[in-house]
């Protein structure tokens, strides 16, 4: 921040320097001996001699500056573009970046990853898109943030890095598109929200379901009381461990590959020896780096449930749960789980993965019927509700048809996104509390206002994890 301020100050001063005595003295000196790197002084007569050539040149190349550069023909001039970079290209980073590359308002200038192969791939995509070789690469996010010319960053890294990267980005004055789950612990989530607010940053969570029509419509119907008072909410999430990277079975412990800086990758988490199945994409199944299916999906279907109920800034007051875990292997997140949560108004929530009775997606059950929504699915009881129109005097939820565009617009307008930090934190909190309830085997009493667990010192120990040195959450 300080570096950028001084850079901007220098730029401003150089543009607005008044032609005072000092500058006159300098120009007088230049008459005698031009300083190195400057053209010799040109007299009026010399200039007039060259004029016909200059005029002919201008006439011969009238379109040397593209209209797009000047912001004409609907194009965004370079000076108005949002300068972006991305961190993490092992999974969601690539599709996120591709979506942003389609935006005329965005100029993607750099990529950062701890795996050289991922870095090369991401750089290739950017260079191919722009038809040049200008995309810069970074190994260390701190060097990326120190560039000083970035407006925003897209972060798609393992969960255990979310807090450090995003708080550092906020400190560096960057707006953030961050993947879900929002945080790796409740304490980190709070620190992230505080940093986003403190540094005045725009945050968009990758909870893209909010930008899809059926989720929006379903939530709006619930919010407008079409099924009356909500009696129960069911959130169905996936179960098991999915082999995203096709590395199941590659459990042998050994030295990490040369292209991956494994020690940096482990970062603030407890160090565990490298094996191929532990890293890229399948890190999600290990609680040191991810949060299993429960945390992977909490930022989607539970987030939608909150949206429909107007619970964006609320949280449960009681949570209990049970889970089933592998009995061997390197993954230690629950493979099947059931979490009950109760909110202050008495609304009971069920989050479950691997139970047939809980349908995948979000289902609100009310006094007069139910509404269910999932990816590609939207059903109601009574059935006519599907076609209900929200009238002029009713509650209209924020509308977005394109999650990345919503972020871009918010960056330009300094407005809240459709999935801002505090909202994402409240959604993720339910998952974190579920994990704690499963781990302790007890009913957790949660105060959403103070964000503390009451009367359970042991559960409170699980609100955060100690970082491996030298990592520390920035203030």
């Amino acid at each position: 921040m300080a570096q950028r301020s001084s850079r901007m100050a220098r730029r401003f001063n150089s543009r607005n320097e008044a032609p005072g005595k000092d500058s006159r003295e300098r120009s007088d000196r230049w008459k005698e001996t031009p300083p190195k790197g400057f053209l010799p002084r040109v007299t009026r007569r010399d200039f007039l001699k060259t004029l016909p050539v200059a005029v002919a040149g201008a006439a011969g190349f009238p379109a040397i500056v593209k209209a797009a550069t000047l912001g004409r023909e609907g194009a965004v001039p370079p000076s108005d573009k949002i300068v972006m970079a991305g961190i993490g290209f092992g999974m969601q980073g690539i599709p996120n970046m591709r979506a942003f590359l389609q935006k005329d308002e965005v100029r993607w200038v750099a990529v950062c990853d701890l795996d050289k192969e991922h870095l090369k791939q991401a750089q290739g995509i950017v260079n191919q898109h722009y038809g040049n070789e200008s995309c810069a690469t970074y190994h260390d996010f701190r060097e990326l943030y120190a560039r000083g010319d970035l407006d925003a960053v897209s972060i798609a890294v393992p969960d255990h890095w979310h807090a450090i990267l995003s708080i550092s980005a906020a400190r560096a004055g960057l707006d953030i598109f961050g993947e879900k789950p929002f945080s790796h612990s409740l304490a980190e989530g709070r620190a992230m929200c505080d940093a986003v607010k403190r540094y005045g940053r725009v945050w968009q969570t990758g909870s893209w379901q909010r930008s899809v029509d059926n989720f929006h419509r379903a939530s709006e119907l619930v919010r407008n009381g079409r099924i009356g008072k909500i009696l129960r909410v069911e959130v169905g999430l996936p179960a098991g461990h999915y082999d995203f990277a096709r590395t199941f079975g590659q459990w042998a412990v050994g030295p990490p590959p040369r292209e991956l800086d494994y020690d940096f990758w482990v970062g603030p988490a407890p160090f565990v020896p490298y094996c191929k199945a532990r890293v890229h994409m399948n890190w999600r199944w290990n609680m040191d780096f991810g949060g299993g299916q429960l945390m992977d999906w909490i930022g989607h279907h539970l987030d939608i449930a909150h949206w429909g109920l107007g619970f964006d800034y609320a949280g449960p007051i009681e949570v209990q749960g049970r889970g089933e875990f592998p009995t061997t292997g390197i993954y230690n997140s629950a493979t099947r789980y059931w979490v009950d949560a109760k909110y202050a108004d008495g609304t009971p929530f069920v989050l479950a993965g691997g139970y047939d009775e809980i349908q995948s997606g979000t289902k609100w059950i009310g006094e007069y019927g139910w509404i269910w929504v999932d990816r590609g699915g939207f059903e109601t009881q009574p059935a006519y509700l599907v076609n209900e129109i929200i009238g002029p005097g009713e509650i209209k939820l924020i509308k977005s048809r394109d999650h990345c565009q919503n972020f871009v617009d918010s960056v330009k307008n300094r407005a809240l996104t459709i999935a801002p930090a505090e909202v994402a934190h409240r959604s993720a909190s339910v998952g974190h509390l579920g994990v704690i309830a499963i781990e302790t085997g007890r009913r957790i009493k949660w105060d959403p206002a103070t964000e503390t667990i009451s009367g359970d010192a042991e559960a409170n120990r699980l609100l955060s994890r100690a970082y491996r040195g030298p990592w520390q959450l920035p203030a």
């Binding site: 921040m1 986003v196 993954y331 491996r468």
Partner: protein, 276 residues
């Protein structure tokens, strides 16, 4: 064999093949919760001692289930803790000790502190020691961390400073204040953040005094913890404001780009959906 029989046989073989493939793909999931909680902790720890972090993790799971089954009974919990602490003094692998520290994070008490205190001073074990120690209640753990400050340097020392901040260890304020004013900017920066987390008027005063005399480059590092300190307190139960606006304190820190003239707003269009 008639055509019908051949067809049936082919279908049966294909079905069996599919079932086998499905079972292979779900290897991890199929093994859930089939094992019973073992009764002998010594046996578990003996098996765990050589664990390398790979697939052969039965002992890890046995330990986890054993501790979880006993953590709510004070006597059984204490008995567990004693054996786990003794294990940390053994020649077990680092991965095995890490797994034991994961359990002590939940059930550890003052009885775990002496051995963890020794581990704090070793490069290989300092992080896992803090993983447990940071969560152990009581002043013994604070004292162990404060005592280790003077005996460590580099990443070890920075980690310990971080843990003191996380613990909101009021008794560490004086030592952290010294580091704040010390010659090493790494320690000073870490100490500033830790003091901000510890909070209270002593920490605020130490930070405020230093803020006034420190170099301009370092002011930014100090300023934020300095403003955090007065409102942070280990006993703080103040409800957090439910901020619906991100802009309440933000105008001053907008990027210059945000002050440029607005871009042409394009009509919304369906974008690429980021996968999960």
């Amino acid at each position: 064999m008639t055509n019908q029989k051949i067809q049936k046989t082919v279908i049966a073989v294909l079905a069996l093949g599919l079932i086998a493939a499905g079972a292979a793909a779900q290897t991890t999931d199929a093994q859930t919760m089939k094992r019973t909680v073992p009764k002998d902790l010594d046996g578990i720890l003996k098996a765990l001692a050589s664990y390398d972090g790979g697939l052969e993790s039965d002992a890890y799971w046995d330990l986890r289930n054993y501790v979880l089954a006993r953590k709510d009974t004070p006597e059984a919990r204490l008995a567990c803790e004693e054996k786990l602490v003794a294990f940390l003094d053994s020649k077990a692998t680092l991965t095995a000790k890490t797994d034991v520290c994961r359990q002590l994070r939940v059930i550890g008490s003052g009885k775990s502190v002496p051995v963890l205190e020794k581990m704090l001073l070793q490069k290989d074990t300092t992080d896992i020691a803090r993983y447990a120690l940071e969560k152990i209640p009581g002043t013994d753990a604070d004292d162990a961390l404060i005592g280790a400050l003077a005996k460590t340097k580099g990443d070890l020392k920075k980690g310990i400073i971080t843990s003191l901040g996380q613990r909101k260890a009021r008794s560490a304020a004086a030592e952290l204040g010294k580091l704040l004013r010390g010659p090493d900017p790494e320690y000073a920066g870490a100490a500033a953040i830790a003091l901000g987390q510890i909070g209270g008027m002593d920490a605020a005063e130490a930070l405020g005094k230093f803020l006034a005399v420190t170099s301009p480059l370092f002011k930014e590092t100090i300023a934020r913890p300095c403003s955090d300190a007065p409102r942070n307190s280990s006993r703080s139960k103040t409800p957090r404001p439910r901020s619906r606006s991100m802009t309440s304190s933000s105008a001053k820190s907008f990027r210059p780009s945000s002050a440029r003239r607005p871009c042409a707003v394009r009509s919304p269009r369906q974008g690429t959906k980021p996968g999960n």
